[in-house]
Amino acid sequence: MASQVLPLELIDKCIGSRIWVVMKSEREFTGTLLGFDDFVNMVLEDVTEYEMTAQGTKKTKLGQTLLNGNNICMLIPGSDGPES
């Protein structure tokens, strides 16, 4: 049987590298992934938050951050976000 990579194994491989997190709402985060748990709550470092509003995109810089997994929609490993 071909070996398969489970989704959370893929995210585990991303620990230490940059990751792009897209939320269910018009909000995105990029940062260096330090860790995560079974709920996909994520600890990120050197974070930039992007809030997409009708007025444009608002950027916020953050330090070490625990992001609640409840509203996470998609994870893009190795990407530095909407501006890359």
Binding site: G35, V47, T65, L66, N68, N71
Partner: protein
């Protein structure tokens, strides 16, 4: 019957045994470790509504229920309220960000 003598005890010198893991505040990066590290530090808590609460994290639990001290409520960058103590129910929390070095 196997009557061979038991293997000799491992009499390697004590310097060979690895030191016990350091149980200090070193965090491995998991959410639990992060939360242990930020208690007592200044934090920014953003709710799903976009409102920020900045203050000293006094305690929290696995639901991300949070008790803050010296809390400032920020709406769109402006301070709108100050509270000595504030409790935030965890389901509203978008993120907890350290506002000082952990």
């Amino acid at each position: 019957m196997d009557d061979s003598p038991p293997p000799p005890p491992n009499d390697a010198p004590d310097t060979q045994t690895p030191p016990p893991p350091q149980q200090t505040s070193i965090h491995t990066g998991s959410p639990t470790d992060f939360l242990k590290g930020v208690v007592g530090k200044k934090v920014i808590v953003r709710l799903n509504s976009g409102v920020d609460y900045r203050g000293v994290l006094s305690c929290l639990d696995g639901y991300m229920n949070i008790a803050l001290e010296q809390t400032e409520e920020h709406v769109e960058g402006n301070v709108t309220n100050r509270y000595g103590d504030a409790f935030i129910r965890g389901n509203n929390v978008l993120y907890i960000s350290a506002a000082e070095a952990i």
